[in-house]
């Protein structure tokens, strides 16, 4: 499917002209009006109240500035490559930025997938169900070297809840790492039996989770099963827990040891519900019963026995207003408040401030732009010295949650992120280094993120789409 077809089709969807008439007529009949001054004053009062609360919270906290790290803005700048491709196969070059950052630039004549140091080019059948051909490359020194892999094909056929899920699953293990994929038929051609999705398990190369999906919109639901790659056997990992009885369960967050799972259920008649399932004890308990918190609470695993709980308050418009976080130990039942009623970060403010949440970490931005990183398991704070947060700045947590990617986006248009400054906070080392980028405006940057815990990457292409770039950085 080409998205331009969607855009052209969508352009033709317009409201009936009579609708405008209906609305304007209704405004004359029964609507009340709130004076602008009152609204502005109300907003100002709310903002000032939030600001006062935030300032007071900062001043009162005894945990403030127990640690500190300094921002180091490198003098050296990156010269972002942007030349068009000349070779047919991908090629790679390396450079150093100020002796502190290693950069690798992979230039490709078209889009190749990549996972870690492995690049691949997969050719699928017309219906996207069957893998017809595959090529793999590995990064060795300064080159992409073609490699052979022993690709296994499993025919999946699983019956669950009246649906017989089927298709082909492709996998291989290399350097103790599992690579696995499946075909994805086009949306319009997708049949109920196609709707199963692979979820690899950290550290495991023998099994994966298959999420079996069904339904649409509010009735969308998933159910996970364990799939043994060698034997092709399916295991109902949640059997006898009662989880299969949950309606509209759509998200499963697993603890690292796979002994527990947090299950989110859709907004049914009883609203959003979160459940904790213990696979060994065969119990299924609502999150509010487990924790004793009854507000709007979300959870994720800090470790296999500890949850990070986040409680939100909303304003009259239903927007998140403030957040409070707790660390909750599942065995001792100890509940520790680690973030107290911090304003929720709103990116669209002229000078945004508040709490940005990243699993077990929080980046707390003050009204003055000062930044602290908070460990949400302990409440310990690390102040960032010499750095002031500005509009366009953003952070992303690393897989280990010990590092934060920092970037400043200065997009020229919506087609590109426009990463003008790039850096990393290493919370273990207590460092924060960043550098400026030159020439980024010649590429259209589509994505930025962590490849692994040591490498961040930017996906980009030239404006003519002839050349794809993968830009990787190690700090």
């Amino acid at each position: 499917m080409n998205i331009n077809d969607y855009r052209r089709g969508m352009d033709k969807i317009l409201p009936d002209p009579k609708l405008k008439e209906r609305i304007m007529k209704q405004t004359n009949e029964k609507k009340k009006y709130i004076p602008v001054r009152r609204v502005v004053n109300g907003l100002l009062a709310a903002a000032l109240a939030a600001a006062c609360l935030f300032t007071a919270a900062l001043a009162a906290s005894p945990d403030l500035r127990t640690a500190m790290l300094s921002f180091f803005h490198m003098e050296e700048r990156e010269q972002v490559p942007s030349s068009s491709v000349t070779a047919k196969d991908p090629d790679i070059s390396q450079t150093e930025i100020g002796a502190l950052v290693k950069a690798q630039y992979v230039k490709m004549d078209r889009y190749y997938g990549h996972s870690g140091s492995l690049f691949y080019d997969l050719t699928w059948s017309g219906d996207n169900r069957t893998l017809l051909d595959s090529k793999f490359w590995e990064v060795k020194e300064n080159e992409l070297v073609p490699i052979e892999v022993e690709l296994n094909t499993n025919t999946v056929a699983i019956s669950y809840d009246g649906i017989r899920y089927q298709g082909e699953l492709y996998w291989f293990v290399r350097d103790s790492q599992l690579f696995v994929t499946k075909g994805n038929p086009l949306g319009i051609e997708m049949m109920p039996e196609d709707e199963w999705y692979i979820q690899p398990i950290s550290g495991r190369t023998d099994v994966v989770i298959l999420n079996l999906a069904q339904g649409r919109q509010m009735e969308y639901t998933e159910y996970p099963v364990l799939y043994h790659l060698d034997t092709g056997e399916m295991e109902d990992i949640l059997s006898e827990t009662g989880a299969s009885e949950l309606e509209h369960a759509y998200s499963y967050l697993w603890s690292e040891d796979m002994r527990r799972v947090l299950i989110s259920c859709g907004e049914g008649p009883n609203g959003q519900q979160e459940w904790l399932c213990d696979l060994e004890a065969k119990t299924l308990t609502s999150l509010d019963e487990v924790t004793g918190l009854d507000g709007e609470v979300t959870a994720n695993f800090m470790d296999s026995e500890t949850l990070i709980l986040t409680e939100y308050t909303k304003d009259a418009e239903g927007l998140y207003q403030s957040v409070t976080c707790y660390s909750f130990h599942l065995i001792s039942k100890q509940l520790v408040k680690t973030l107290n009623n911090a304003p929720y970060y709103r990116w669209f403010d002229e000078e945004p401030y508040g709490a940005m949440l990243f699993g077990s970490r929080c980046v707390l931005i003050g009204l003055d732009g000062q930044v602290q990183v908070i460990d949400l398991s302990s409440g310990e704070r690390t102040a960032v010295e010499g750095f002031s947060f500005q509009h366009g700045d953003d952070f992303m947590i690393s897989p280990s949650q010990d590092k934060l990617l920092y970037y400043h986006a200065a997009p020229q248009d919506i087609a590109s992120l426009g990463v003008a400054q790039l850096g990393v906070i290493d919370l273990k080392l207590g460092t924060f280094i960043a550098f400026d980028r030159e020439g980024f405006e010649h590429l259209q940057e589509e994505g930025i993120g962590w490849e692994d815990d040591n490498t961040v990457s930017i996906n980009a292409h030239t404006p003519d789409y002839e050349t794809q770039y993968l830009l990787m950085y190690q700090f």
Binding site: N2, M10, L19, K20, M24, E267, D394, G447, H461
Partner: protein
């Protein structure tokens, strides 16, 4: 500010933003009648609440956010109904355009809306996160999964 000025402003806003509001409601609900009801309610709320906006982009995002909220409420209202497809063909739309619309509409809700907001409305991940009240990482995941499901030629078609 008097009522006439408000209404003049409302008309301007309607002319500027009603297509985006209506389209998002269509993507969400799939039915013309429902999308019209939502559009009407959105603009009446704009008038009643008279919020102040930092700029026109902020105004547009607010309207789309209210649209998404109202659509969610609407779906709660007919919880057991299953509405996934455009009920009629779009006038003058070519077959491939109809097919493209149907493909996106057949996606689960959590993927359909981010795909529409990003690839039709042109919103960034952060903006979609605010409109749909999701975390940026959730939006990225949904865009990724949506792209995978559609096998869109997105990267080459901006």
């Amino acid at each position: 500010m008097n009522q006439t000025v408000y209404e003049h402003r409302l008309e301007e806003d309607y002319n500027a933003y009603s297509p985006a509001v209506y389209r998002l409601a269509m993507v969400y609900l799939g039915r013309y009648a429902d999308a019209e009801d939502i559009t009407q309610e959105v603009f009446l709320r704009l008038l009643c609440r008279a919020p102040t906006f930092a700029d026109e982009n902020h105004r547009r995002r607010w309207l789309l956010q209210v649209t998404a909220n109202l659509c969610r409420d609407q779906l709660r209202g007919f919880w057991r109904k299953r509405v996934t497809e455009l009920e009629d063909t779009i006038p003058a739309a070519a077959p491939e355009e109809q097919e493209a619309l149907a493909s996106v509409m057949s996606l689960p809700e959590q993927y359909r809306l981010p795909i529409h907001l990003h690839y039709y409305e042109g919103y960034s991940v952060a903006e979609i996160a605010e409109i749909l009240k999701l975390g940026p990482s959730a939006v990225k995941m949904r865009l990724k999964r949506g792209r995978e499901l559609l096998k869109l030629e997105l990267e080459g078609s901006h």
